[in-house]
């Protein structure tokens, strides 16, 4: 019976049915299910299904965001329990758009997909100076920093950040970069650990980098 409820919760999140997602989460909790199990066995699979459908052009972003909102609704119930039990997501990623650059649609999508994959995501926003990336990575013990740039005139800021992070001794923090003008070659040139062309593959890249 509980197996069914897991499936129903996954479906509710996928369809973006917020009320139903909250209700089913409560049902599972009342039945004594561990909060983390709900996240891992129902919510993350839901977002990963939606991500998969999006990759295959079966849904659009609005459907994906509506699913993310439903997941958020469920997480609002689960998060306090996880926090109380001292359970934190395994990985933390800091993500932001580099100094001088205001483009954030792509960065927001990457952040949303990482959240869906149960990363703890610290979004430091747009027009972010190197110091702020470093401070956020330190304070949150991030394993990963994501940099976004859409202007050719702000691409060089990525190198500044990579250098500053290395100079600050954050050698174990992986850096991934993206944005329309960015290439793998550019990532290699500036010493970033990875590049990904879109939000869906950014999650695969993130997993690969933190596991390495």
């Amino acid at each position: 019976m509980l197996m069914n409820t897991f499936q129903e919760l996954t479906d509710a999140v996928e369809k973006g049915n917020r009320k139903e997602a909250a209700r089913l989460t409560q049902v599972l909790l009342d039945a004594g299910t561990a909060p983390l199990e709900i996240v891992e066995s129902a919510l993350v699979p839901a977002m990963s299904n939606v991500g998969e459908k999006f990759k295959n052009n079966q849904v659009f972003v609005p459907e994906m965001l509506i699913a993310a909102r439903a997941m958020k609704e469920a997480m609002a119930i689960i998060q306090p329990l996880l926090t109380a039990a001292g359970i934190v997501p395994k990985y933390t990623a800091v993500i932001g758009t580099v100094q001088g650059d205001l483009h954030d649609i792509g960065k927001n999508l990457v952040a949303m997909m990482l959240k869906g994959a149960n990363f703890n995501v610290i979004d430091v926003g747009i027009n972010v100076p190197p110091e702020k990336f470093i401070a956020a990575a330190r304070e949150n013990n991030a394993q990963l920093v994501g940099l976004s740039a859409l202007l050719t005139t702000t691409m060089p800021a990525m190198k500044t950040i990579v250098d500053a992070m290395r100079a600050a001794g954050l050698n174990n923090v992986k850096i991934m970069i993206g944005g329309a003008p960015i290439t793998q070659q550019f990532a290699n040139e500036i010493g970033a650990d990875g590049y990904s062309p879109d939000a869906a593959s950014a999650v695969d890249l993130a997993h690969k980098l933190v596991a390495a």
């Binding site: 659009f60 001088g100 649609i105 999508l109 050719t152 879109d198």
Partner: protein, 472 residues
């Protein structure tokens, strides 16, 4: 102190468009506008010739105090190379657009100095080789560098106006901007597929900012005897188009956003703009029908800057033909801006040859431009001369901007539904339900703007903008 403006088009002191300048699809075509614009060098834009409009940008590099000499060298190299090619190919005239990069608007003297470099080279090409040219100056709308943006005062606003003023004084005859009023909530509206929020952003917030902004720019233009050319809903319509191109949002949704955006961009023409409308505003087709002013357009030859499904159809109504932007990098044929100058000139030669062969020849060429794109994408379909005029009509017969936005959306939805039914435009199965959803959304909206505002102020994220800057 800036005057406060009423939100409706009617009942203000602004000229308003209540009828169409062009109501016959056969009159809505390239190279000819009912109200052409004459420049100091004697170009007549919209007067029977399509001119190339070149835009360019820097290769990957910082723009700061230290790099400034190199930045200036880059622009000198760009303009010298491009004008040289234009002279060799005997272009009948060229429009040069200088769209600044943000630091050049934040530090007005940088932007103005570069404008002078361009003007200098343009004057030289004119006196030495007789090449006619005109500079369109497009500072950045840097107000959005702060979040939430302060729209009506502050350092960023003042420096932006200073950049306009300095370049107008230096001889930039055409003033443009890609303004961002209302955009604070538009990206999210696009990502959520939320048409109500799109209407609120563009036809309530956007139009108010446009009135404020263009009244200020118009004052500068008058003072220096130059022209307000036009704005664009780039941050709105083209963001939607790029997202649709990446399969993030439905193409039919992006098409409707485009139709709505005409209402916002139109306000510039109510406040003194006389064209050519800015190149990346694909809504310019609709605006040409409404205003009769000449329009810049971009399509296949701007693929260097962004992809679009509008490569040919965009040229069907252009008066200047642009490449949007290209980096100053080396290609096999030469530096990219020079290469693009050549491409634009050849595109224009073909259009101008058809114009020279007479109306029927031009109309035949235009038919090919339109029909080769229109059936393949809803965003192209709503820009056929017939569709554009239908949308334009829905706008001018509306009593206020909010109603105009709703009606433009409904007109576009109806055109798409009818076009799909008659097999004239391809719409994917996945997208078809969106037509009904969008129509229902608009039909359920309140009739009165006041009621709509109350409703939306309760649902959009009001932290993202400064309501008083929109008189909200």
């Amino acid at each position: 102190m800036w005057p406060e403006f009423a939100s409706g088009r009617h009942g203000t002191l602004m000229p308003k468009f209540t009828t169409l300048a062009i109501s016959d699809p056969a009159q809505l075509r390239f190279g000819v506008a009912p109200k052409p614009l004459n420049t100091r060098h004697g170009m007549s834009i919209g007067g029977g010739i399509v001119y190339p409009e070149l835009n360019f940008t820097l290769p990957p590099m910082f723009v700061n105090e230290t790099t400034l000499p190199e930045v200036k060298r880059q622009y000198r190299e760009i303009i010298d190379g491009a004008l040289h090619r234009a002279v060799e190919l005997e272009a009948p005239g060229v429009v040069i657009e200088f769209e600044t990069l943000p630091p050049m608007t934040e530090n007005p003297s940088w932007g103005i100095d570069i404008a002078k470099i361009l003007l200098d080279a343009m004057e030289k090409a004119h006196s030495q080789h007789g090449l006619k040219s005109v500079l369109r100056m497009t500072p950045n709308d840097t107000r959005e560098m702060e979040r939430p943006p302060v729209m009506r005062s502050g350092m960023l606003w003042e420096r932006m106006l200073e950049t306009f003023e300095g370049s107008a004084a230096a001889g930039a005859e055409l003033l443009s901007i890609e303004s961002v009023g209302g955009k604070e909530i538009h990206d999210e509206a696009l990502m959520m597929g939320d048409l109500s929020a799109v209407l609120f952003s563009q036809c309530v917030m956007g139009v108010r900012d446009m009135r404020f902004l263009w009244t200020a720019i118009d004052k500068i233009a008058r003072q220096y005897g130059v022209h307000c050319a036009g704005d664009t809903a780039c941050g709105f319509g083209n963001t939607a188009m790029v997202l649709a191109e990446q399969k993030m949002i439905p193409r039919v949704f992006a098409a409707v956003v485009r139709a709505v955006s005409a209402v916002r961009t139109l306000v510039g023409y109510e406040c003194g703009c006389v064209g050519p409308g800015k190149d990346c505003g694909y809504e310019n087709v609709i605006l040409k029908a409404i205003t009769g002013f000449p329009m810049a357009m971009e399509g296949k030859t701007s693929a260097c800057a962004h992809l679009s499904p509008l490569g040919n159809i965009a040229a069907a109504t252009c008066d200047t033909w642009s490449n949007e932007s290209v980096q100053n990098i080396k290609l096999l044929g030469g530096m990219a801006p020079t290469v693009y100058m050549e491409q634009l000139i050849y595109d224009c030669r073909l259009m101008n040859q058809s114009l020279a062969d007479g109306r029927d020849a031009a109309l035949l060429y235009q038919k090919w431009m339109v029909n080769s794109d229109a059936g393949l994408d809803p965003q192209a379909y709503i820009l056929t001369p017939r569709s554009a005029i239908a949308i334009a009509q829905s706008i001018v017969s509306s009593p206020d901007d909010y109603t105009a936005g709703k009606n433009a959306a409904l007109a576009a939805i109806a055109l798409l539904a009818e076009g799909h039914k008659n097999g004239l435009v391809k719409i994917s199965e996945l997208e078809l339900p969106w037509l009904d959803t969008m129509r229902e959304t608009v039909e359920e909206l309140p009739a009165a703007e006041g009621e709509f505002i109350d409703q939306m102020m309760g649902t959009v994220d009001t932290e993202k903008f400064v309501p008083k800057d929109y008189a909200l």
